[in-house]
């Protein structure tokens, strides 16, 4: 029961903040849409006449969508932790009798639906702009997105842990945000080893569902199992690093100090 109450409290907090900062959210949406327009028209100018441009366009839309998902997931969690440490609320979260692990996990889940609403609006805008209406199979996409983002959350947890111990990690967060682009653009087909990195395999499977119109049940079971294992591994590693770093911060009396 305590878990449910905690989850409801976190969800309500997210809802209040989203409603209160709606203008901020809309400005962010417009900003990201403008970036997309620049990429789209840039790509159009470079290879718009080519017969295979349609496939490239699909890849751009899907890649951009996964990038915004990943960027939000990563920066929201990593920056969020830095902000909570600065504001002194991280100590209070740590002191929840439900446990800091659950607080962190519930916070991710409660933020996910805000991120989802934002990205659905962005996707509709992107598809209307490009005229490419992609296959939106929610049953197939939702688990793929969740699994793909799990690895990113692992990275964010590790970064958050580093922020608690080493404090000034904003530039590191910035660099990793660029690394996310690299992970999405990773040529998994040509270099299969790149599949082991977070995001890469998930992005490939999401593209297959959205651009090729496949259902999750039509995807090779080995690919799905690989994605599952990859996500669990990266999330687990990131979370383990986070817990270790929290203990280091507790040892050094740094938790909440910023």
């Amino acid at each position: 029961m305590r878990y449910l109450i905690l989850f409801k409290a976190l969800l309500k907090q997210e809802f209040i903040l989203m409603r209160r900062y709606l203008f901020n959210t809309i400005v962010s949406l417009i900003g990201i849409y403008i970036i997309f327009l620049l990429i789209f028209f840039g790509a159009h100018a470079l290879g718009g006449g080519a017969p295979e441009f349609g496939a490239t366009l699909d890849a751009i839309v899907v890649g951009f969508l996964v990038w915004t998902f990943a960027l939000f997931a990563y920066s929201d969690l990593a920056h969020g932790m830095v902000r909570e440490a600065q504001e002194g609320t991280l100590e209070q979260l740590y002191m929840s009798p439900v446990g800091f692990t659950w607080v962190s996990l519930f916070r991710i889940v409660s933020r996910f639906w805000v991120m989802l609403t934002f990205n659905i609006m962005l996707l509709v805008l992107m598809m209307a702009t490009t005229g490419r209406w992609l296959h939106l199979d929610v049953v197939s996409l939702l688990p793929l997105i969740v699994l793909t983002l799990a690895g990113v959350h692992g990275m964010a947890f590790a970064t958050g842990g580093l922020a608690l111990v080493f404090k000034r990690v904003e530039s590191f967060i910035g660099i990793l945000q660029f690394a996310v682009v690299g992970l999405i653009a990773a040529p998994v087909g040509r270099f299969p080893l790149l599949r082991y990195l977070p995001l890469a395999e998930g992005n490939r499977l999401i593209r297959r569902v959205m651009a090729e119109g496949l259902s999750i049940f039509e995807l090779p079971a080995t690919d799905l199992l690989f994605l599952l294992a990859n996500s669990v591994l990266w999330f687990g590693l990131g979370f383990l690093a986070f817990k270790l770093l929290v203990n280091v911060a507790r040892d050094r009396g740094l938790l909440g100090h910023y």
Binding site: Y3, K8, A9, Q13, E91, Q92, M95, S96, G253
Partner: protein, 320 residues
């Protein structure tokens, strides 16, 4: 006998340094706090007050020693122990600046696993108690510092824990707000609802609210006693001499050489000497010095000490 709610035994915290010597912040301290006791934790900067408080609420891992909260080992069963503790650690921090007063209170109840419906009337009571009624829909960031601090205390209270830890709750507040907050804390202490451990530099706050005081210095406990006992003890040995005119340099030197805790204040017409004389017979030594310099004594009286003087006496003078 009232049951202990908090037991701290042989608590030590050493901060390891890569360069230079390790820092011993808390050095083998121990105390037991009973249910509904209101205890002040006093000490100069760097004495180990905040480290002790943060060890109790599990934010800092002790190097050695044990902490039991309501019988639960805080290191081994952290989550169960945390059901019984709430803390305000840095004044006006510890609250969500982008949530309103009421939203903050509801959120912190939820963080503790308490349904907001179950504490609605208590939230109303807290808002009234801390005089935040007019601002209950205002974002915390738009409140004055004093109001933010009151809200932080209210957010700790809404968790309805047996133990409440307050680290410098009146730090940086103006006199009026400090009194308002003090009044609310006193009211809570009077009702005997919570076990409160309060650290503060403001001795008058501790003297006003707490029944017992633990004084720490250099990581060690130097005094642990009831405030009333300390006041009585120091009253018995604190004297004030009023002299006509001024003291000679020789008299001042003699007094300062022979008495450790001495305060001499001069005006145009008279001089006041305040001294801690643990042995009552030493009063004659002071009188001898005064007589030898032909000083006329106007009055000799027992002085009413306050906690600040007692604290300075203990920390600087070594009385324990």
């Amino acid at each position: 006998m009232t049951e202990p709610v908090l037991e701290v035994r042989n608590l030590t915290k050493v901060y390891r340094q890569r360069r230079g010597e390790d820092v011993v912040a808390v050095d083998d301290i121990g105390f037991i706090i009973k249910k509904n006791e209101v205890v002040g934790l006093l000490g100069p900067n760097g004495a180990g007050k905040t480290t002790t408080i943060k060890c109790i609420c599990t934010l800092i891992r002790p190097t050695s020693g044990s902490i039991r909260i309501n019988g639960t080992d805080a290191q081994r069963n952290t989550r169960i122990a945390l059901r019984h503790v709430a803390a305000v650690l840095e004044g006006n921090r510890n609250i969500y600046w982008r949530l309103s007063v009421r939203e903050n209170l509801e959120f912190f109840a939820g963080l503790q696993g308490i349904r907001s419906g179950r504490v609605r009337s208590y939230i109303d009571e807290l808002i009234e108690m801390f005089q935040l009624k007019e601002k209950e829909r205002t974002d915390a960031r738009n409140l004055s510092r004093g109001m933010q601090q009151k809200l932080a205390v209210a957010c700790a209270l809404v968790k309805k824990t047996e133990v409440l830890l307050l680290d410098e709750p009146t730090l940086g507040l103006d006199v009026e707000t400090s009194h308002e907050l003090r009044f609310a804390l006193k009211e809570m202490a009077r009702r005997g609802e919570r076990t409160i451990i309060l650290s503060s530099h403001d001795m008058s706050v501790v003297q006003d609210i707490c029944e017992r005081v633990i004084i720490v210095n250099n990581g060690k406990i130097v005094t642990d006693d009831q405030v009333a006992n300390l006041l009585r003890l120091f009253q018995a040995s604190a004297y004030r001499f009023e002299i006509e005119g001024r003291l000679s340099k020789q008299q001042e030197r003699q007094l300062e050489e022979r008495f450790e805790m001495l305060k001499i204040s001069e005006t145009d017409h008279h001089t006041e000497i305040e001294a801690q004389l643990e042995d009552g017979n030493r009063i004659y030594e002071v009188m001898d010095i005064l007589k030898a310099g032909d000083s006329r004594i106007r009055s000799i009286a027992r002085k009413e000490p306050n906690l600040e003087e007692i604290f300075l006496n203990i920390v600087k003078g070594g009385k324990n």
